[in-house]
Symmetry: C2
DNA sequence: TCTTCTTATGGAAGCGCTTCCATAGGAACA
DNA sequence: TGTTCCTATGGAAGCGCTTCCATAAGAAGA
């Protein structure tokens, strides 16, 4: 049964020059076993060992046992790298996000990774720290690493990226921005509608003068979409949102507080502050309380994202829940399906929800 | 100069059966180019193209230009997978964390990824969602994927994992727990000292009755270390920390509030609440304010981690800053050095800092 | 002018898998 | 008893790189 019986000397083809020192009694260096080692130990061919992993149904019970034992004895770990090369399938999904240091992306990736790992996929991540130039490089890196699918944030990017991806046939999905006019795979809540809705809520309450704090909109279509939602709602009521009351800031609590202070000093201060993320809103709310303002009578503050802390503030924050977990899971599911050759619906929009808290109310005067 | 002049027909070795349909005028499917394609286009050998990437100094200027143009025309992206297989170096670092959905780990990974990508490394991540059984599998996966180094959280794990890693010669580093008795590579602030310090602070203020909220300590040596720090400090003053006042909870704001309420109902309520993370502390603090308690007179609350929001609360939170960013960077640097063959100091402990806020003070009565 | 050294390049094996194809033995059928 | 069909297995090429070694052609030294 054995392919080669007898002598133990290593009769593999010469590889002396490859850095794997051979022969002699040496302190066991890093062990490196491969299918062939297992095959020899089990007295079968490499092919059969491969089948053990990939089509276990096709090998005899007794053979399976021998192989399984050989694997255990050698503590063999198959090389996914070689597998990838041979199959052109890496069982890896790439994700390029602006940063992980933001609860939203972190949670999205967390749920995505979870879903993926259940399906035998690993997650390769990179962040471009909001620099669009970086993204192109990162996509190339990902392609070079043979990712089977790619998650991207936002819809807008250097057009070459989409070309590259299409040409290489790499499935991808964009998250956090939905634009039904664009025919690309997208997953995420409808930020435009959500922003519109929360602005409507404030308009319904009777607010007429607004201020907005947003992420820097350059290279950030999520922020731009939200802003467009705010603005559209306001203009639909015959009001306007001049640029002077739209503040662009990197997302810090501190910025929320600072902007709040600054807008209160204007002649006719806004009665409502629309924030592009809860982070701003929380900063503003805490500052307002520190200043002894009467909330929401003196100023209404709304957030976006529904961070876990939003509901615990006093007053609780009016905000938008974006179904973050669902987004990560849907994105994972989309990619997995696509990889399997199924053609899943390419736009999926988990439902957002307006969360009403005490931080918004009728304007005081 | 050309290796093969003339006819355009594909004279590569047959690969018809490998799924790459050949010949005929076909709609250009997924392009797949390799070194050889580039070589042919540039009229040089594969080897030379390889050198173009790896030892550019060794090829003539003119050759370099030809290759560079061929690469551009073909939009060639080298296969890192093949490279990995050939070199046994993947230029990938793995990271296994309990969850990304925690500001601390997210930030650590963020800074680590940043550092790594500058050095040409990618980051492969996985989370075990606090289940130790998972970790073993994930480590195997990582090994199978040929990671050049591995980041782990905490020092305690199934012993087989360390064996496996050592046997395979995979460099690794553990973060967030420091134990100088253990001779493994470790990076992270000294949580024991930090916990001791913050408890000392409260003891100095005159507190005698404490309660603690911690992560579930099973499978979490970080939590255990912190708790030990609290307890040691307390016992050193001749006081005690009975188990009834140590609460284990998953990290949610809500838990902080709930535990606060519950301890206030005891006969002799604690005057100080030591929290294993700011998340608990913030929850407790917000709840205390909602209950109209006088802080810190009626109850002192301390946190851990120094989340960005901690200093903005009213009163600001007394907490510990753990130098998170530094930890991620140091971990990355350690692994990179180790991979390069340098033997860097295996334990590095960024300095923590006690942040004093108004949430702690003398007990009121 | 002839030898020796460099320098730029090419040939080909090998990294550890998958997969196409071939083959040996039974089982199943006539 | 002969034919056909499965089933379990093995052989070997190929995935796209790196790297050892060989080699041709100048440059440098004698």
């Amino acid at each position: 049964m054995q392919i080669r019986s007898g002598h133990f000397s290593d009769d593999r083809p010469c590889r002396a020059h490859r850095g794997l020192k051979e022969g002699g009694a040496q302190v066991s260096g890093p062990t490196k076993t491969n299918l062939l080692d297992v095959a020899r130990k089990a007295g079968v061919s490499q092919t059969t060992v491969s089948r053990y992993f990939n089509e276990p149904g096709k090998i005899r019970e007794e053979t399976r046992k021998r192989i399984s034992q050989a694997i255990a004895e050698l503590d063999f770990v198959p090389s996914m790298t070689a597998r990838t090369l041979a199959m052109s399938r890496s069982h890896t999904i790439g994700a390029i996000v602006p940063t992980f240091d933001h609860a939203l992306f972190a949670r999205e990736l967390n749920d995505m990774a979870d879903q993926l790992s259940k399906a035998g996929y690993a997650l390769l991540i990179a962040s471009d720290q909001y620099e669009p130039g970086q993204e192109t490089d990162l996509v190339r890196t990902m392609i070079g690493r043979n990712v089977d699918g790619l998650l991207l944030v936002g819809l807008e990017r250097e057009p070459g990226i989409y070309d590259l991806l299409d040409r290489r046939g790499v499935p991808y999905v964009t998250t956090w921005t939905i634009d039904r006019e664009v025919s690309r795979p997208q997953v995420g809540a409808d930020k435009f509608a959500a922003a519109h809705e929360i602005a409507d809520h404030l308009l319904d309450l009777g607010h007429q003068r607004f201020a907005v704090i947003e992420f820097p909109v350059a290279n950030n279509d999520r922020a731009r979409t939200r802003l467009r939602g705010f603005r559209t709602a306001i203009e639909e009521r015959g009001l306007s949102l001049p640029n002077e009351v739209v503040f662009e800031e990197p997302p810090t609590y501190e910025a929320g507080g600072r902007i709040l202070r600054s807008i209160l000093q204007s002649d006719a201060p806004p009665t409502a502050l629309l924030c592009g993320t809860d982070v701003f809103a929380i900063g503003a709310l805490l500052e307002a309380k520190r200043l002894g303002l009467n909330l929401p009578a003196e100023i209404s503050i709304s957030g976006f994202d529904n961070l876990p802390i939003a509901s615990l503030l006093d007053p609780p924050l009016t905000t938008i829940d974006l179904a973050v977990r669902e987004t990560g899971q849907l994105a994972a599911r989309y990619l997995l399906r696509k990889i399997e050759g199924v053609d899943p619906p390419s736009i999926s929009v988990p439902r957002h929800e307006l969360i009403l808290g005490g931080s918004t109310g009728r304007p005081g005067r």
